[in-house]
């Protein structure tokens, strides 16, 4: 007899494990989830194998939560397998949603990453110059490894994604309301990001301290100043991605006296979070003289890495031009 409880799967691709942690962080609420659903696949916590998943009928899993970006062939294969077995797929966390921090590797490619990791770092001892190969023949047997790609992709570049749970990692309230909505069948239109469609500034407790005309004369880096615990970060000259970032994150960084880094991604109206933040930041710099503008702009360290910290693979340009990678 079939189990009446809906089946749920969790999977990780290229990620840090923080999204798995976000499930455990539900605390006592996880007991409600476990009571309501049947977890049939969760490699990080439960001992199911790929063959167990393959044996399940197509479409038999109610929802698969997949976190992590797609960096290797194995991850694409697992994403396709889970898509086939599941009625709904939720991209869980910033990496699956936008590409995330691993997506910053798109400023390099396979060759340069392998060169650094397997040859040039001081701590590497690799006298034979070995690099991982997709196939190695040893004693007449062929051993295989997943292929490593030049470009990191968000989950929706390889499979159809039904919903997105944003954040690094998603806030527990967002996860609980997503799970509740799925169980009750009260879901928004397909393709929605399951979080408010307003900016981080909109809910920021420091918004009221923002001066009427916000201007920046000097850009400061976090290590250079002691932060005022109540004042708008931009008004302090610190880069805060709040204006170009979706809210609903619980303002955990702000509460911890750190500026927003942009993990929730852009709101629905925006295609490219980095470009939109660049636009906002440039317009509040207080300089009209070319030399002064160049000086302030020059003081911003790594603009692309800062503005696209979580969203490079889903941005308009997606990666550095291949021919320009050295």
């Amino acid at each position: 007899m079939s189990d009446p409880k809906p089946k749920v799967a969790f999977y990780w691709c290229s990620s840090c494990g923080g999204c798995e942690e976000s499930i455990v962080d539900l605390g006592e609420d996880i007991l409600k989830v476990v009571a309501a659903v049947d977890i049939v696949y969760w490699p990080v916590a439960l001992d199911f194998k790929k063959k167990d998943l393959e044996a399940m009928p197509d479409g038999s899993i109610a929802v698969a939560f997949i976190n992590g970006s797609i960096r290797m062939s194995e991850q694409e294969e697992m994403a396709h397998l889970l898509r086939r077995k599941s009625q709904l797929v939720v991209a869980h966390g910033a990496c699956a949603h936008l590409g995330g921090v691993p997506g910053l590797a798109n400023f390099w490619n396979k060759e340069t990453i392998f060169r650094t990791v397997y040859h040039t770092t001081v701590s590497t001892a690799n006298p034979g110059g070995a690099e991982p190969q997709p196939e190695t023949v040893l004693d007449g047997k062929t051993l295989t490894l997943p292929e490593f790609w030049d470009t990191v992709c968000p989950l929706n570049a390889v499979i159809e994604v039904d919903y997105y749970l944003p954040g690094c990692a998603p806030h527990r309230d967002l996860i609980m309301s997503a799970v509740t909505a799925i169980l009750e069948g009260k879901l928004p239109p397909k393709g929605s990001v399951l979080a408010p469609n307003t900016s981080c500034c909109d809910e920021c407790s420091r918004n009221k301290t923002k001066p009427e005309k916000l201007v920046i004369k000097e850009i400061k880096r976090p290590y250079e100043v002691i932060f005022d615990p109540e004042k708008c970060f931009l008004a302090q000259g610190l880069i805060c991605m709040g204006p170009a970032t979706r809210g609903g994150c619980g303002e955990r960084c702000i509460e911890g006296n750190m500026p927003c880094r942009g993990c929730m991604g852009p709101t629905d109206q925006v295609h490219d979070q980095g470009a939109k933040f660049l636009s906002a930041l440039a317009s509040i710099l207080e300089a009209n003289d070319e030399k002064e503008i160049d000086r302030i702009v020059g003081s911003i360290d790594d603009p692309a890495g800062t503005f696209y910290r979580f969203s490079l693979p889903s941005s308009l340009l997606r990666r550095k031009k291949m021919e320009a990678v050295r």
Partner: protein, 145 residues
């Protein structure tokens, strides 16, 4: 495509009040100039969202021109200063993506400077003809195993 037959595809965002009128003047005065710039009229250079520039490069532009009123002459007081600041920051960002700074140009062309518009179009076209095609469109969508 070989270098000789390469015709640069350029996108130009021109403000309604100065540069678009300047380009119009170049036309009515029957000045001849490189036809490579596809002009998009915007009300002000301050309206040029950096997303427009990135999208142009992604969709196959070899170069992007933003042209507006001279500093101090903006119809909306300071839109061109905003464009200037965005241009400088966006140029740095584009370089991190491997897009050379010569491909993204900001110019001030007033309504009476038809000849300057002619010169800007000719110079930009020649500079980018020398740089060659950008070919960003085929970049990064695939996985480049």
């Amino acid at each position: 495509m070989n270098q000789e037959s390469f015709e640069p595809r350029l996108v130009g965002f021109l403000c309604n009040w100065c540069s678009y009128t300047g380009a119009d003047l170049a036309g009515t005065a029957r000045m001849t100039y490189a036809p490579n710039v596809r002009i998009i009229r915007v009300m002000c250079t301050g309206r040029v969202d950096p997303q427009f520039v990135l999208k142009a490069f992604r969709e196959g532009a070899d170069g992007v021109l933003i042209s507006g009123c001279h500093p101090g002459d903006c119809h909306y007081q300071e839109g061109n200063y905003k464009a200037l600041r965005r241009h400088r920051l966006l140029t740095r960002l584009l370089e991190q993506f491997g897009i050379e700074k010569e491909r993204f140009r900001l110019e001030w062309v007033s309504a009476s400077e038809g000849a300057k518009f002619q010169q800007v179009c000719n110079e930009l076209t020649e500079r980018i003809r020398k740089l060659g095609p950008l070919n960003f469109g085929g970049n990064g969508g695939g996985r480049h195993v």
